[in-house]
Amino acid sequence: MASSTINFRDTVILIADASSYLSMLVHSILRGFGATKILEVRDSISVLQVLSNQKFDVLLFDARLPPYGGLKLTHAIRRKVDNENRMMPILLMSSDTRETAIRRARDAGANMVIAKPISPASLYDRLAWVALTPRQFIDAPTYFGPDRRFKIEGYPNGVGRRKGDKIVDVAEESGPALAQGDIDNLFSAARMGKD
């Protein structure tokens, strides 16, 4: 990766989380990164309303965002043909880091899943990855979204991923929570022939 410096100035970011305090924390972190154009909403109905009126560059929302939930919302945004925000990066913030939950997020069209609790480093590195790594889009009858067959070669400066990380095997319906590195690997599993 040539550069780990991201210019967030003028990037329009939408944060959607029912928790006003958590939303404020993410807002504060983004301000620290240099972002100045940030809007917060509390539910998925508000997300759809603001998306119909305004163009955003990044959407960060809670996977359990009421009332529809993050997955349905992601799917709705990706499938709406006349939505100019259809291809914007969507990062889901989730405390449910079981493999099946991460896989569903990926299949709904999310670019990334960030495990809660969120730290400045975990957020920065994933935004940097989304910003600096070219990724094709797939338009198929059953899926519209970023290509799920990609491989994370490492975050800028080699951070955000552990040396011993392994590809995650396909699991049963429920399972233990995954660490952020395993979540990232799960997003990369398809190309490795595991999905």
Binding site: S3, S4, T5, I6, N7, F8, R9, D10, T11, A18, S19, Y21, L22, M24, L25, S28, I29, L30, R31, G32, F33, G34, K55, D57, V58, R64, M87, M88, P89, S95, K116, P117, I118, S119, P120, A121, L123, Y124, L127, A128, V130, A131, L132, P134, R135, Q136, F137, I138, D139, A140, P141, T142, P146, D147, P156, N157
Partner: protein, 164 residues
Amino acid sequence: MAETDDDVRIFPVETRFQQLAKRPGGIPRDKALAQAQAKIDEAKPAFDDWLNQQLDTLVDVVKGAQTQGADAEWAEAANRYCRQLRDVGSTMDFELLTFIAGSLSEILDAITMGAEFDRDAIQCHIDALLLARQKSYRGIKPEQVPELISGLRRVAEQLSTSLP
């Protein structure tokens, strides 16, 4: 119906975020992280008020279950407060609080999935949360209070084994 290659369109995309991000003049990562941490520190004074409000509401919701009954809907409502405590606690140096809220969240998840309402299990977690919110417990990690943690784990495991 199976998808064929003809049904699938693959195309490159460069989003506006990608274009903006690559402009010169950004804040280097180390400085950006330091600035973000400083912003979090600025938010810490408000955390105590928020924490007290969340916890008081959770206590009220739990009390409500003792008088009105505890079904899956109640467990999900209580869990909303619990998850918020868990998700924010670590960021604000309340790792012990995060652990306890996570354990209680698992219990509430179990109730949502059909486990019996165990008043004692929930009350001992509430008591632990009230203890952990005290300023003297800021910065305390779960491994520093092993007896408390093993007790909570035991209670949570008993409940999970009672799932239908």
